[in-house]
């Protein structure tokens, strides 16, 4: 089997609110798949359907070859889940929770557990109520990474982790990838997905808007370029794919569609290029493009930033 998760046309409503509205998602076995979307887009709802906590209203959902609602218990032996907001039992220590969750899955690797507790700098003796948000997150992460499972589903797993721990987390994801495990990683932090994921699915308002490898998605974005030239770059705006040209004496700022970088740079060289910096497209920009479609978020954000 090559598909770990296969969702098509998933619909889930809460009363009058349609949280998921025909969502599609395919995760291949062995890949690290980023699941991106702004807050409220439906990431958590999708994951909770996958975990058999919510019953789908319509659509097909297949998880590890089974039905996530009907075969929940059998499937759950083979996967580990890290919720977005981890809450622990106030009277149980972190170490107890890690062991319990591992035993309730397919067992836990004691060596890997000890190593992870160390790497994440977790005090396993503290009781649930004494942990900060980040430390609660670490408890769930250690339990997930140390469990003997084939699929990891993580809902915004790094929220609450400090940068050092985020790096440790990325390291762990890489190790899991090398072991051939499949990971679904939801996030609204794009750099995290860029650094860790093979493929990405972007959703908005309960619908899938884009899916593919990062390379495939980059063609949708623009590289931003700053350059200094000897002669005024008057003809730059006429080149296909060049946008938002701002000239200030010999300095020029512009954006260019990724596939048109060559002609633009050749033109600048012909004017006597003194310096050139370019920034690769970020997923932030990709993301903003999908916001623009909704007609609300960017306008509001821009207006607020302007004040």
């Amino acid at each position: 089997m090559t598909t770990a998760i296969s969702i098509s046309g998933l619909v889930k409503s809460y009363g009058a609110t349609r949280a998921l509205d025909g969502l599609d998602l395919t995760v291949d076995t062995g890949e690290v798949h980023g699941f991106l979307g702004p807050n409220g887009a439906g990431k958590t709802t999708t994951i909770r359907v996958l975990m058999g906590l919510l019953k789908a209203d319509a659509g097909q959902v297949e998880l590890l070859g089974g039905d996530p609602w009907r075969d929940a218990v059998a499937l759950h032996r083979r996967l580990a889940y890290v919720p977005g907001d981890v809450t622990l039992w106030p009277t149980l220590s972190g170490g107890e929770v890690i062991d319990l969750l591992g035993r309730l899955r397919n067992g836990i690797d004691p060596k890997r557990r000890a190593e992870l507790v160390d790497r994440f700098k977790l005090d396993p003796r503290k009781k649930g109520r004494a942990y900060s948000k980040g430390n609660r997150q670490k408890v769930a992460l250690v339990a997930a990474f140390a469990s003997d499972v084939e699929l990891l589903i993580m809902d915004e797993p790094t929220s609450g982790l400090d940068p050092l721990m985020e790096a440790e987390f990325r390291e762990c994801v890489d190790e899991e990838r090398r072991r051939g495990r499949t990971i679904l990683l939801s996030s609204h932090i794009l750099s995290e997905v860029e650094q860790t994921c093979d493929r990405v699915t972007i959703i908005r308002d309960g619908r899938t808007v884009e899916t593919g490898s990062l390379a495939e998605l980059r063609h949708l974005t623009r590289t931003s370029v700053q350059a200094e030239v000897e002669q005024p770059p008057a003809g730059l705006g006429r080149i296909d794919g060049v946008h938002n040209v701002r000239v200030n004496g010999g300095r020029v700022d512009f954006e260019v569609d990724t596939e048109q970088v060559g002609p633009a740079v050749r033109y600048l060289t012909s004017l006597g290029l003194r310096s050139l910096t370019s920034q690769p497209p970020t997923l932030e920009e990709l993301f903003m493009r999908h916001y623009e479609g909704s007609g609300q978020a960017p306008a509001a954000a821009g207006a607020e930033a302007g004040r």
Binding site: M51, L53, K55, T91
Partner: protein
């Protein structure tokens, strides 16, 4: 920024959050108090009826312990004070404790205090706003109670004293909860500490009041050690001792001072008592959802069992006294028969206390079963059900703990009462099984409450808290049903009505079997609901 900056805003927030809950408490407590008092005009309307009551009560330690201090039963007001003051003030105390802990330590535990604390809010604003809300709610109850009691025709001065006692007692327990909330990091533990003080206050006044029936009444001073006792000693409707309010005021100032000192000395999220560390790894036994349910619930169960060893021993110890008192006075026998049954006076008394303890142990059952909802509402269930734990197995774990736990607490109560009674009557071997049988016979009725809670959790999870309302109705029917002369069909609504009055009546298995089946059916329907619904 002052320490209390933002109190007004937080008070409005608390009012908004509590608008339904607080309204229900205020209306339920005041209407219940006034309605019960009004019924005294019917039941004890004539001097003859009141004289009969006085003859029974004033010589009976048990009736004084169950009701309250009886200063003057020749007036309807005096009867009302005897019957209602201790009961109403205890419930108001409970309400105040739950309210204050919910708005202080529980908020802190959830992390919301930190969130709001980053806005312009002084470090004592949470505490101040919660206490102001508690004071407001208590004053609202007092106002309604005073107006209601005056409205049904009781004397104005006495009604004001009754209401003042209610509000003062409620505020004292709000402050006690405020202190408890500074001590521990967990809301559950804070509620536990404050409730233990409430329970002790009730027992102290029960012991002190019971002692007034005996010739040597030195122990009656115990009532003075209890805020609930102070509300009685205000003597509503009988030469009111207004100066007792000074005791409330002094205690209030002292508690407030202690609370302020404690609050100033600790960090947000921390308690004055240091948190204890746990085990670095789980014991081999912690490997199933049922083992987890037991682990989460065992502390509560042990607390209830220990508490009922004390309560059972206290009730068992006074049972033998019923022989002499009731032998001299046929009216006591009548009254006890209302609660108990048609046997000897001692047996009737044992049947009555077994039923009362059964209903109170119903609170354990409701608390243990509603853990289900707590686990879901606090989102711990997501991670648990994402492992290979079947939903119904998880529900079954908690239900098993509630069902067996009920039997354990009833056994503790029955053994303690049987031993105490057996030692007094000189027949330990004979009395222990009889009294134990009487308390264990309550188990099927308590299990019906478990079933009601599972049903609510399965079909209407957001309304699981209604389980407590059902318990309250059962308590009112059990405590006041016969005194209020409610119709039989109303009495039949309570499962405890159907339990045979052991050891006063003969054992009949049929009603107990029916209760077991009803409880099982409710549980099954609730579980079917859990099986098919979304997890919140």
């Amino acid at each position: 920024m002052k320490e209390t900056t933002g109190t007004g805003t937080l008070l409005r927030l608390a009012l908004r959050l509590d608008r339904i809950r607080a309204t229900v408490w205020v209306l339920a407590l005041s209407i219940f108090t006034v309605a019960s008092s009004a019924s005294n005009f019917d039941v004890y309307g004539t001097p003859q009826q009141r004289a009969e009551l006085a003859a029974s009560v004033e010589t009976s330690p048990a009736l004084l312990a169950l009701g309250g201090r009886a200063f003057d039963l020749t007036t309807v007001g005096g009867v009302t004070a005897y019957q209602m003051v201790a009961f109403t003030t205890t419930l108001i105390g409970l309400m105040s404790i739950l309210l204050v802990v919910r708005h202080t330590r529980a908020e802190e535990e959830s992390g919301r205090v930190e969130l709001v604390g980053s806005a312009v809010v002084g470090r004592h604003a949470w505490l101040a706003s919660s206490l102001l809300l508690a004071v407001g709610v208590n004053l609202a109850i007092a106002l309604l109670v005073a107006l209601g009691l005056i409205g049904i025709g009781l004397p104005v001065t006495g009604s004001l004293a009754f209401a003042a006692g209610c509000a003062a007692c409620g505020i004292i327990f709000a402050l006690i909860a405020g202190v408890a909330a500074q001590l521990t990091e967990s809301a559950r533990a804070a509620t536990g500490i404050a409730s233990a003080v409430l329970g002790l206050s009730y027992l102290l006044r029960a012991a002190g009041d019971a002692a007034t029936a005996t010739a040597d009444n030195a122990l009656s001073v115990l009532t003075w050690l209890s805020p609930i006792g102070w509300a009685e000693l205000l003597r509503p409707y009988t030469d009111e001792s207004w100066w007792v309010l000074l005791l409330f005021a002094a205690a209030g100032v002292a508690l407030y001072a202690v609370m302020s000192v404690l609050a100033a000395r600790r960090d947000i999220g921390a308690g004055v008592l240091p948190p204890r560390l746990g085990a670095p790894a789980a014991s081999p036994a912690l490997r199933s959802s049922t083992a987890l349910a037991w682990r989460l619930q065992r502390g509560t169960l042990i607390g209830w069992a220990l508490g009922f060893i004390v309560v059972g021993a206290a009730f068992g110890g006074v049972a033998q006294g019923m022989v002499t008192v009731a032998g001299q006075n046929p009216d006591v026998a009548d009254l006890i028969r209302d609660f108990g049954g048609a046997g000897s006076n001692v047996d009737n008394f044992i049947a009555a206390i077994a039923s009362l303890m059964g209903i109170v142990i119903g609170a354990y059952a409701v608390q243990a079963t509603l853990r289900l909802r707590g686990e879901e509402a606090e989102h711990r269930l997501d991670m648990l059900l994402s492992t290979a734990v079947e939903r119904l197995r998880w529900v079954g774990g908690h239900v098993t703990v509630a069902v067996l736990g009920t039997a354990v607490v009833l056994t503790a109560a029955g053994l303690a009462a049987g031993l105490a009674h057996g030692l007094r009557s000189g027949d330990v071997g004979g009395e222990v099984p009889r009294v134990l049988g009487a308390t264990l016979a309550q188990a099927p009725a308590v299990w019906v409450l478990v079933g009601v809670c599972v049903l609510l959790f399965g079909l209407a999870p957001r309304y699981s808290i209604v389980g407590w309302g059902v318990l309250f109705v059962v308590l009112v029917i059990g405590q006041f049903g016969k005194i209020l002369q409610l119709d039989q069909w109303v009495l039949n609504l309570s499962p405890f009505t159907h339990v045979p009055d052991l050891p006063a009546a003969d054992f009949t298995a049929t009603p107990l079997l029916v209760l077991v089946l009803v409880g099982a059916a409710l549980t099954a329907v609730g579980m079917a609901g859990v099986h098919r619904r979304d997890i919140a």
